[in-house]
Symmetry: C2
Subunit: 372 residues, 2 copies
DNA sequence: ATTAGCACTCACTATTATTGAGTGCTAATA
DNA sequence: TATTAGCACTCAATAATAGTGAGTGCTAAT
């Protein structure tokens, strides 16, 4: 008995009065937990309401249908279960899922299979030309293993550190600026040269920036530029005004938007879920996946590690019937980006949580090895 | 009468015997053309079979339902029309669509509206940071205007010319090579440095390559390297073997795959089409869009300008119920990439053809202005 | 050569009846 | 007092049936 409770399993109905206390002390009796878990487990597997008789027949339950009916009525009163119509069985409500995730997840189901493990590890033995390729492949594998839709957010560029600045003159008046970061990410941007600035002058400027800014995290770049280094540029550069204009061009508008790159894999998997058999719902979801801003919003989390958002806990309208499970990955302890799984609220939480957790950890150690 | 035919419109039925000649001389009478066109136009607009009575009531047709029934029976015999079931009207077959596209498209419907025109032109007044952004926006606008799914293939990199090679040393033993092309495209690739090659040596090599290879189209790069320049490297480089190993790394595996970038826009638009109300079909299509290789295959064309593929003319299985209209865009007269529209075989050919044609031309002149 | 007339076909819709899984309540039971 | 058996009731889902109407092909009249 891992649980501290010593409550006798046969007296759950005293609990029934708890509805009078509203949210105050919603402690479920062991029997109620057992029944709630049975309902959720069954609905996750079969996507159909389950009735008292079917629950009673499960071999981990030793009560008659009538008893279970009473308990289910209570659980419904408390908001953990819903009933599609009078003569149907019960299904979990969002609150029910939440309780399930927080308290009822089967610990011994939490370890993932050898196969899946291998599948994931194999990913990290491969050679990748570019970081982006790794991210794309990760999304693919994740969706293959889970049979849900996967989302991977690339590193927020501002968490990475500057490794090198390089300029390449293009045709008259244009040049390409290339920023290389410590994740090997190459950002490029084409700029126009302000009037009266010579190539030579620009090269001097770039050399100077390289000397001063390498190793600085990108999100500090702008601040550093405008405070510490400002005077020095003024002293060094021949045409101060124009140099600053160039620098302004380089860094403008980059900081409003979090510019994670977004990788979505296995979008077609949602079509296997019976809850998305309606064309209108499908359309809403696919439109959402096309809008990177919404996807980022979806993946937002305020803490490191695993995060589970169930149904209406999602702030994105189109996802209010779905759940999302995310985990952050890190480089040198700093959270860089996020990987996640998108599926119906009826998703297999325990399985997916363990897979996402495992993958995020492996991913972190892999890139740490790669770029340290 | 733009048509050279002087055939009396009232004697189409002599044509009925043409079925005995198989494909040989499938010349349709004017009346048959009129009726075929009516069927196709109607089906394009309403997605429903049309019967003889409805056709007879159209104001451009002056025949009784009975006459039209006879003609329709003939057109069905010849394979231009299909009949879903006995008591339904007729719908066009693939062959019917093909004839329609080749001979019956309404010339005066071919000019596009002011609104659409403006919408497109407006695209080319904007400033784009990168070429890729332009491509993505083009796909978006195209799908918005047409209400179908749009596909844009980026420039085949091998058609563009080398503008600059640059190297950036990373952590020990790794470096990033950056190729800039005349479209402003930046390709980067990380390599490992072979044993015993100094940074200095590499810089010499890159300088040399820059001198020799700038302006060469990428698809000639390898050939040029291994023939003309080979000896010179041998003379110049201190460590010939290792230098060649580095160069091999740089260019390996790039030439098998045509590495167009693929942009797909408005995939959700296909969900508005009644022919894709079946989940299985939707799944097949979306899986197809996820596989870039299939998308490229879909967009393949063996000639410049407009290309229309109808239904089973597509080599991609999943698209055998769909049509695709493509046009190439060019830089300095060389076809670089393709833009296209994907929709049901029942798509509005005349409208889409004119839009795609118009956009591709504008696009070509725009990028020519931009990079010349 | 064309068309009016007519019997026939067949998908689609609406109506109705049937079935069965599930419930809530009450009374009996351990 | 907690549990369970029993029973009347609900209601979605399925099946069966009939009715409707848009469309056809063929024949005979124009």
């Amino acid at each position: 008995m891992p649980d501290g409770h010593t409550e006798n399993i046969n007296q759950g109905v005293t609990q029934r009065s708890s509805k009078y206390f509203k949210e105050a002390n919603e402690v479920l009796s062991n029997r109620q937990k057992l029944i709630l878990k049975a309902v959720v487990d069954n609905y996750i597997e079969y996507a159909e309401p389950i009735g008292s008789r079917a629950i009673s027949k499960r071999n981990d339950i030793g009560f008659s249908p009538a008893t279970i009916r009473n308990e289910m009525a209570d659980l419904e009163d408390m908001g953990f279960l819903d009933q599609p119509h009078t003569s149907a069985g019960r299904i979990p409500s969002n609150k029910g899922y939440r309780y399930y995730v927080d308290h009822l997840i089967n610990q011994n189901k939490m370890d993932i299979s050898k196969d899946e493990c291998n599948h994931i590890s194999q990913l990290f033995t491969r050679q990748f030309q570019e970081f982006e390729q790794l991210l794309g492949e990760t999304a693919n594998i994740l969706s293959q293993i889970t049979n849900y839709t996967s989302i991977v957010l690339g590193p927020e560029i501002y968490r990475t550190k500057l490794k090198h600045i390089q300029i390449i003159p293009l045709s008259d008046g244009n040049l390409i600026v290339i920023l290389v970061t410590n994740t090997g990410k190459v950002e490029h941007k084409s700029l126009t040269v302000p009037e009266g600035v010579s190539i030579h002058e620009i090269e001097r400027l770039v050399q100077f920036l390289n000397r001063k800014l390498v190793g600085v995290p990108l999100y500090q770049l702008k601040a550093k530029l405008y405070t510490e280094i400002n005077q020095e540029i003024q002293r060094n550069a021949h045409e101060y005004e124009q140099s600053m204009e160039l620098i302004d061009q380089l860094f403008k508008e980059q900081d409003n938007v979090s510019n994670h790159k977004v990788y979505v894999g296995g979008t077609t998997n949602i079509l296997n879920q019976p809850e998305f058999s309606d064309i209108e719902k499908i359309k809403a979801l696919f439109s959402m996946f096309e809008k990177t801003e919404e996807v980022k919003e979806l993946m937002k989390s305020d803490h490191k590690g695993i995060d589970v958002k169930i149904g209406t806990e999602n702030t994105v309208e189109a996802a209010s019937n779905s759940s999302i499970i995310t985990a952050t990955y890190e480089l040198e302890g700093i959270p860089l980006g996020t990987i996640g799984i998108f599926g119906p609220t009826r998703m297999d939480y325990s399985r997916v949580i363990s897979i996402v957790e495992f993958l995020a950890k492996d991913f972190s150690t892999f890139i740490t090895k790669l770029y340290k």
